[in-house]
Subunit: 377 residues, 2 copies
């Protein structure tokens, strides 16, 4: 009988249940991220945020016009022999992340043009479903000193669900509120991590690619709920953990480098408590309890036989039936269905289309009555 391959279906390393840990909330797992993730139970985290090595393939030193040397990323962890090696590395961590994600969980990856296409292709090949690609536009990018290309002024983030059928969290109303009541777009203008925010060790930057907390703030606020678990397989100095704690979420980090871990632990110990959960969510019509139209009749706000009006200058009229349907000529059905039919439209929101006459004879949308019921709950 053949031995089982160490990588099972979906590239998942087989672990005995006894070796698995229960979810170690707000903890940094020391060591390789794949080993770390494989110790966690399957289907246990709500969000993965990954900032993997970019495989930058930098050549020699880059010298600024003023003869200073650019401090590029030349850490060992960013060296790969070739694209095949980088792809293999990517496939492994993506598979491990896939295993620990809940079915409706989501994954974010950040990268640059050097690596993001390898990552995006592998995500699609493993069944992830891309939801958006997000452009992080940097307010203060490094210029192109040689004048040979366009200023590389952005990085790319991919947001994807575990499958096309999954229903990942998206706090639409929160993002809209955050953007002055306009839909949040796929291009985000945010500054680099510099100044006070940038962690330093002996006067030098602790981590070469520390991300700004503002970026993680938006990601976690948009795509998780308070209390959710956010896993970062390339934890570094803990930006993901800091943003998660500040927003009332839990983090789990994987990191190999003891210096990064030390810096992250010190940083996370300083983070204060999260604000009142009510301040962390945005109320919206979608999140409010559902009120059937019939409840307005049961509450005595509307009466069977009463007339509703729709469209400009009472263009359409419908009679309310005792069962909460409305009738307009030979058409009978829900307020939405009849609203669509009389307008010959593909769809209609009956709550805003239909109006009732108040005591003064003024026309008011029936949605006012629904609001009144909701206020009483």
């Amino acid at each position: 009988m053949p031995l089982p391959h160490p990588l099972g279906v979906d590239g998942i390393v087989a672990f005995a249940d006894s070796e698995r840990m229960s979810l170690p909330l707000d903890t940094i797992l020391e060591g390789d991220c794949i080993a770390g993730m494989n110790r966690l139970p399957a289907g246990s985290v709500d969000l993965v945020f990954a900032d993997p090595p970019y495989n930058l393939q930098l050549g020699g030193d880059l010298i600024r016009p003023n003869a200073t040397r650019v401090d590029g990323v030349d850490e060992d962890w960013d060296r790969f022999a070739n694209f095949a090696a980088y792809d293999a590395f990517t496939r492994d961590w993506v598979a491990a992340a896939r295993r620990v994600l809940k079915p409706d969980g989501a994954l974010w990856v950040i990268g640059s043009y050097h690596n993001i296409h390898r990552v995006g292709t592998i995500l699609q090949d493993q069944g992830f479903w891309l939801l958006n690609d997000i452009v992080w536009r940097k307010t203060n990018p490094m210029p192109n000193f040689m004048g040979t290309r366009f200023t590389n002024a952005h990085e790319t983030l991919l947001w994807c669900a575990r499958s096309a059928e999954a229903r990942p969290t998206f706090n639409y109303a929160t993002m809209k509120a955050l953007n002055d009541d306009l839909q949040m777009r796929s291009d985000w203008m945010l500054p680099l991590c510099v100044g006070q925010e940038r962690l330093k060790t002996d006067g030098r930057k602790t981590h070469p690619t520390q991300k700004p907390e503002s970026l993680l703030y938006r990601i976690i606020l948009a795509t998780t709920r308070p209390g959710d678990v956010v896993l970062d397989p390339f934890f570094g100095t803990g930006t993901t953990g800091a943003a998660a704690l500040k927003l009332g979420r839990h983090y789990i980090g994987c990191e190999r480098d003891p210096d990064y871990i030390k810096a992250a632990r010190a940083r996370l110990a300083e983070v204060g408590p999260a604000p009142d959960p009510a301040l962390l969510v945005t109320p919206s019509r979608r999140t409010e309890p559902r009120i059937p139209f019939g409840a307005l009749i049961e509450a005595g706000m509307l009466k069977p036989g009463q007339t509703l009006f729709g469209g400009a200058r009472r263009a359409h009229a419908a009679i309310i039936a005792a069962d909460g349907t409305v009738c307009c000529g030979s058409v009978r059905g829900s307020i939405h269905k009849v609203g669509a039919q009389v307008q010959e439209a593909l769809a209609c929101n009956g709550w805003t289309f239909w109006h009732y006459e108040d005591e003064t004879g003024a026309l008011l949308p029936i949605d006012r009555l629904r609001e009144r019921i909701r206020a009483e709950i």
Copy 2:
């Protein structure tokens, strides 16, 4: 002796020299783009611009809030059985483009998150060297009607050289001049192709995905020299040809659809030699930095749960929520809306009304923080 495989090294179809044509300048080659490119001499064109099918995989109908239907892309040419089929298609046209390019020639591809990672990976695998990824930020994108994702407000372009050693053309000074004497960044803000520019046939759009000339203008201006030859394997209605002619370059287009070819020929016959100044769409830096209140929270300048004060002697107080709204009693909304409500006024400029407490306990208007963010941009 075995017959030679029809696809030689690098996926190039073997043509007898007698079948090859000399370079057919300013011409549309009718038929499949791979056959068309294979009829051209190797190493003969300076630039390839490709706008291949995106493989959008759209589902059912999408209905707008105003109950009309979105006219999505459902053309046959955008249907692929799966990623493998799309990858094979991409490998073939990329290989054919690679053959016709001069050694120092360059290639541009435009795409969206649906396909761009497949294309980018294949370009790297075939030896192309990515120079920049460019983000086309749309001034007027289609919104996300259902409120399910971030507004998909951009497309991605990849600019690459034929090899890492190649020295492709980049008109650095021209780009800098075009951008108010600042280096041109990798994110370009340009409008969609709408209005007069959009080609119509019998009142309906001739091509579902016609690109704006301003985009091609910038690409050709930046990465070719006058007299250069620009090849577009997916010519469509000839935007690339029009921009090339206006800039004193030559075009060669490949196109299968007779209707598109007819429209392109009519369009190109109208093109005069002078460049259209309207194509120099320079972003106006004055109008750009709109700072939503939420940006102050994301920047860490204000924290969820913190109190803002308004009016004389802290007459009003409001708590900041994580989404950038503020709460005052049962009222929750933008700084402007809540400011107006607590004063029982019709309107209010929240930026000047609300104040925060600094480290010394002094009250400062929140507009100070906005000014600080603006100064950093």
